[in-house]
Amino acid sequence: MSKDLDDDMFVCRCEEVTVREIRQAIAEGARDVVGIKRRTRAGMGLCQGRTCEKMVQQILSQELGISPEETGTSSARPPVKPVDFGTLAKGVQ
C-alpha cells in the first residue's frame, strides 16, 4: 500500500496513534515495540497492545528490514488486566 494512503491510519486505536507517528518514531531512533511505545504511547491504552502490537511489529519490520522476532514485544507488568481502583483499595487476601 502506498505510503500517503497509509499515513493517517490509526494503528493503536486506544491511544489514537497513526502510522505517520509510528514512522516518525522510527525516524527518531525507535528500533522495537518498546521504543515505539515510549515515544508514541502505542500499546499503553485499555487493551495494552493486544490489538496493535502485531501491526507495530509489521511496520517496524517493513521500515527497518528486520524480522518480526527482532522487533521484540512489550514488557509484561501486573496487573495484566485492568482492575478497579475500588478493588485494589480493599487490599489483597
Partner: protein, 369 residues
C-alpha cells in the same frame, strides 16, 4: 494468602482438560477464567469437529464443552468465573481478581504448588483505510456474537482470510442468516481445508484469492468495501478495484498466543512464526523453563481445539504425577498415548508444519537445573 495444589489459568479446552486429568488423579484443582462462562471458545464452535472417531470427532464443539464441564464437576474441579488472573509472581504466587456473587470483586493471592497456563490466543488485526469503523471486527468476535450472544453483526459480510477460521465463520454467518458477499484472500490459494471452502462455495460465496481489502467506507459504520487484486509482490494492482456493498468486515488473519503471564514469571520464550509469535519453551510434559509451571493449548502455539485438549491432558497428568498422585509408569503410559494422538493431529499437508514447529520448541528446551 491461600494455598492450592494446582491452579489452572483459563477454562478453555486446554485448561479444562488439564484440570480434569489432575483432579481425576486426586489433585486439588482451581481453574480461574476471566469470562462469565467456562469453555473458552468451545461454546461458539457449533460445527462438528474433525479428528479421530475414538476421540469425540464428529461431535460439535459446544457438546465437547458440555462434556468437559460435566467431567470437571464430577471430579470436583473448583472453577472461578469472572475472575481474571492479573499477576503471577515469584515462586508461583497467582494473583486473582475474583468475581463474587454480589457482583463485587476481590483480590486474592494464591500460593500454588503447580500452575498450568492455558490462556489461549487473541486475534490479529489487519490495517486498511477505515479499519477502525464500526462493523469491522475479528472473525472470532463475529462468531461470538452469532453463536453465543445470538446477535447478527450485520447483513452483508466481507470476510478477509481463508484459513479454517475464515471459512468456518463464513459458513456460520450464513447459518445465522447473514450473506457473505466475498471471501478475500491475499495468497494465491485458500488456506484452510477444502471441505470447508466447498461448503461456502456451494452456498454461492465468491472467493477472491490474490486480493485484499483496500478500504472500508462509511460515515458512522461500514457501508462499502473496496477490494483489489494483488501482484506478485503483494501490491494492489491499480484499476482492479471492486466496490462491494457490505456492512460488516470480519478479519480472519490468524491469532497470536497470549503470553503476558508467562513473561511475568520469566518463562523463557521463543519466537515461532508457524505458531503465531512468541511462545514459552516447554518439554514433553508441557512444563516450562520454570519448574512447576506448565503451559498448554494456544498459549504454546496457535493450533486448534483438539490439540489444545490433548496438550491440556499432558499438562494435567504431568502436574499430578509430580505431586505424587500418579505413579511414573502409569503416567508414562497415559502421556505416550496422548502424544500418539497429538502426532495424529499434526500429520498430513495441513498438520505437518505444526509437527515440525512443535519439535523445534521441544528441541530448544534447555536442561532444567
Amino acid at each position: 494468602m491461600v494455598n492450592k495444589e494446582i491452579v489452572v489459568v483459563g477454562a478453555g479446552p486446554a485448561g479444562l482438560a488439564a484440570a480434569i486429568e489432575a483432579a481425576k488423579a486426586g489433585g486439588e484443582v482451581l481453574v480461574a477464567d476471566l469470562n462469565i462462562l467456562p469453555g473458552g471458545q468451545l461454546f461458539k464452535q457449533i460445527h462438528k469437529f474433525f479428528g479421530s472417531s475414538a476421540h469425540r470427532s464428529g461431535t460439535r464443539g459446544i457438546e465437547i464443552g458440555r462434556q468437559l464441564l460435566a467431567e470437571a464437576e464430577k471430579y470436583g474441579v473448583e472453577i472461578w468465573l469472572n475472575s481474571a488472573v492479573i499477576g503471577l509472581y515469584d515462586d508461583r504466587v497467582v494473583s486473582i481478581e475474583k468475581g463474587l456473587n454480589s457482583g463485587e470483586k476481590e483480590l486474592i493471592n494464591i500460593k500454588a504448588e503447580k500452575i498450568i497456563l492455558a490462556t489461549g490466543a487473541s486475534e490479529n488485526v489487519v490495517r486498511f483505510k477505515g479499519w477502525t469503523l464500526p462493523g469491522v471486527m475479528g472473525a472470532g468476535a463475529a462468531q461470538t456474537m452469532i453463536n453465543v450472544n445470538r446477535v447478527k453483526p450485520g447483513n452483508k459480510v466481507v470476510m478477509l482470510g481463508s484459513g479454517n477460521v475464515g471459512l468456518i465463520v463464513s459458513y456460520q454467518l450464513m447459518q445465522a442468516g447473514c450473506d457473505v458477499v466475498a471471501l478475500v484472500e491475499a495468497a494465491p490459494n485458500i488456506g484452510g481445508y477444502g471441505v470447508h471452502a466447498s461448503k461456502i462455495r456451494r452456498a454461492g460465496v465468491p472467493v477472491y484469492t490474490r486480493h485484499t481489502i483496500i478500504e472500508a467506507k462509511g460515515t458512522d459504520r461500514v457501508k462499502e468495501v473496496i477490494i483489489a487484486e494483488l501482484d506478485d509482490s503483494w501490491q494492489p494492482i491499480a484499476g482492479t478495484e471492486k466496490v462491494l456493498e457490505a456492512d460488516v468486515v470480519t478479519l480472519a488473519a490468524g491469532l497470536k498466543p497470549i503470553s503476558d503471564l508467562a513473561r511475568l514469571h520469566d518463562l523463557e520464550m521463543v519466537y515461532n512464526g508457524v505458531f503465531g509469535g512468541w511462545v514459552p519453551k516447554h518439554d514433553e510434559n508441557m512444563e516450562s523453563t520454570q519448574s512447576g509451571i506448565y503451559v498448554a493449548g494456544d498459549t504454546t502455539g496457535v493450533e486448534e481445539a483438539n490439540t489444545a485438549l490433548e496438550e491440556g491432558r499432558l499438562a494435567g497428568i504431568a502436574a499430578a504425577e509430580s505431586l505424587g498422585y500418579i505413579a511414573e509408569k502409569d503416567a508414562k503410559e497415559r502421556k505416550d498415548d496422548t502424544w500418539k494422538r497429538l502426532d495424529g493431529l499434526r500429520m498430513g499437508p495441513f498438520g505437518e508444519k505444526r509437527m515440525y514447529a512443535k519439535n523445534e520448541i521441544l528441541a530448544c528446551f534447555p536442561a532444567r537445573s
